[in-house]
Symmetry: C2
Subunit: 355 residues, 2 copies
Amino acid sequence: MIKIKEVAQLARVAPSSVSRVLNDHPDVSPEMKERVLRAAEQLGYQPNFLAQSLRTGATRTVGFVVRDISIPMFGGIVKGAEQELESYGYSVLLTNSLQNSALEAKHISVLCQRRVDGLILSLQSEASAETFKALDNVQVPVVLLDRELIGLPADAVLFDHASGVQEAVADLVDLGHRRIGLLVGSSRTRASRDRIRGFMAACEGAGTSANWDSIVELPTATLEVVGQATASLLGQAVTAIVAGDAQIGTALLGAMKERKVQPGRDVSLVICDDLELFRLVDPAVSVVYRDAEQMGAVAARILMKRLSGGVAGPIREILRTNYVARGSTMPPPETSVLPQGRALRAVTGSSGKRS
Amino acid sequence: MIKIKEVAQLARVAPSSVSRVLNDHPDVSPEMKERVLRAAEQLGYQPNFLAQSLRTGATRTVGFVVRDISIPMFGGIVKGAEQELESYGYSVLLTNSLQNSALEAKHISVLCQRRVDGLILSLQSEASAETFKALDNVQVPVVLLDRELIGLPADAVLFDHASGVQEAVADLVDLGHRRIGLLVGSSRTRASRDRIRGFMAACEGAGTSANWDSIVELPTATLEVVGQATASLLGQAVTAIVAGDAQIGTALLGAMKERKVQPGRDVSLVICDDLELFRLVDPAVSVVYRDAEQMGAVAARILMKRLSGGVAGPIREILRTNYVARGSTMPPPETSVLPQGRALRAVTGSSGKRS
């Protein structure tokens, strides 16, 4: 390790002068500054950042807790935040919770011990006791991504997941679908609750009473779990399925392929989130799109605003989601191609056209 | 901020006793320890970690520089490393370089200023002056992922990309292909050099002199760039294409779909890296598989070994890659379905069977 003394020796000044230069003290001549900085660079001197932070308090670093970086959407969210924060001279330290609340709580503590200036949090659930406990000790501003924590008045950026699902289901109803299934993740997160709300609103708007039987809440998005749920929906003779996120949608594509059920022709399909995959399969999949990079950038801007002070009350920014129709949404087939173990139940209020 | 003094007051002990407990001093009675820890927890006291690190030197944190977390493979690599390091009681701080060498160099410095105990580095290129300069100042052990830096005797985990590509091309030759194209990323990284080497070795092994014209080095993997390269290869009447990574492969699938060229039936296709996408398109894509989680876990174990001391010389671990045949590799069609702007050139040493 290079020491201040060595920099002072090379620059032929007193160690205290080196300190003054490195701490940007106003009482330093331009010549002195030039000499010291040149010597520091020549020796590869690295100021003791920990000691510096202890004095100034600020680290110009933001901690970003990501619940699972293997979820493709986080690539976009992190990129949006990183680019925005970089423009303010801030660096980002990420942690990866592997969808594990205990690890998430630990990472929040680790980042705070490192004295980050603020936190951006993508939390696993809205109801983890461990995470709540870790957040209790957080002294820096926090921005939540797509989560609302009861009793924690933090800033938040939220997607309006309902709007896109509502558009999608309205389109399916227009095409003639009357029995539509919804596969969603845990309703302990607001994204799933939001999607259920959009689904119900569209059904009601179409004069079709929503079918609670055909809303399936999944504990995980493995091929096996999604496969079983798909089989159950097909058994109910749904003619269209809405998948609540990219993981569920990917597994659903696998389950349909396994059962030789063709999206669009046999069963219409909409997936929430737009992956490259969904444009490359045949037919391309209709999706509910959300702008991940925008979410990251907005979160970063809120944090910078909060750090610059003078903002009262929590900020909540809500970003729309939008339905994009592609080849996987078509009118329902005349008769179901699937073995119908169960009889088609009467559907109330079925007033729309049917191809 | 809660102070040691407040913990001492609540526990009704001297502040120096609190310090002794929190620093795990041997001269502390179990009752004293119990009392202090209970008071600390009750107040939500957070020891000043920066000050502590200054004293002990160790932070039990590993810095992990990821060149682009939106590349799906890194989800697996980070997971493998994270799980392994967690079992040693280490936390991981990640940074995301957005494929930008300047940002990468800055992140290396930021992590070192934060006094991580070691670094795992997934670098953008093997020839970035900025990155070399940043690494010059690194005082902790470093493990490189799939990169070799000239003049830097660091530990490294490397994939043997050549083995899998060689197997793939040998299979294509067996199926009867004689004109095979290879799309790879920048040959400034060893992965691409390795893949070119495996490609050449397989061609030579088959008695087919390798065709340098049909090896295309791509500056980026955008749909446009990959589309142009694909058009050029199809113009050369290749009957099979090997894509050097998942990004190139995904863009290639898009380019083929756009041109209505069907993988397998019209042109055989092998992609290096196995994404869910490649199993879900029809036909499923043959791939060269590498175990991302294993790479992360091996890197973590090397770092732990290095930190425990007593290991001489750099450690190099090489992980195999393997070819997995699926529906996208078939015998070449009798005649090319594509407009042939150029005449088929004579192929020397074409001794294999042709369907």
